[in-house]
Symmetry: C2
């Protein structure tokens, strides 16, 4: 994986919440599906940029979470974007392996809650 | 806008945070861009399903926020998906008008924070 080149001024502008976290939407750069949403701390963002693959903050384990480190289903980062409020990230990735979800699904969003009725 | 048909059992499974909110990723069903991330309460989810367009919860104003009510840039909902943990939504929409962002951009994610160095 290649390290990323970051705009340091923008990194410094990020607005973390009171837990020191910021939500990150992960989208496939290949099929454009939204794969998952996870949380990033300043340290995990730094690791993501340095390693060129996603490293999140696990709220349940309270530790850095190198996505795919055990499964091999790593996410190779293509680009990280920030929103207008500087409080949410969008990470575009090449998803390796079988998918992003621990259930085995390609995307964590694989259940429909509501949809327009068929005509 | 058409109302949506919801899977009530899944709606009942949703895990709201300690503020009674759940994050919602909004994606264009047309060009597949991620447009924005906003927060939804149980009441705003109910309104979104009933109206067939996005209604969020404004954390700054502490009130329901019918997206595009003043600008006309409404988001017509096609489908709402829920993730494996039942704590995040993905809302696929037809974005009307000029875009999703109050800055005038199509997507709120329009600034690159980091990217792979050009070879």
């Amino acid at each position: 994986m290649n390290p990323l080149v970051a705009i340091d001024a923008l990194v410094g502008e990020l607005r973390y919440d009171d837990r020191g976290l910021i939500p990150a939407v992960v989208q496939s750069a290949d099929d454009h599906s939204v794969l998952m949403v996870a949380w990033i701390s300043a340290a995990s963002l730094e690791a993501t940029i340095a390693q060129g693959r996603t490293v999140f903050w696990s709220r349940s384990r309270q530790e850095l979470w190198a996505k795919g480190a055990t499964s091999g289903d790593v996410q190779e980062v293509v680009e990280i974007l920030v929103d207008c409020d500087a409080d949410t990230l969008l990470i575009k990735v090449h998803q390796h392996g079988g998918g992003a979800c621990h259930t085995g699904s390609w995307s964590c969003f694989d259940r429909s809650l509501a949809e327009v009725e068929s005509q």
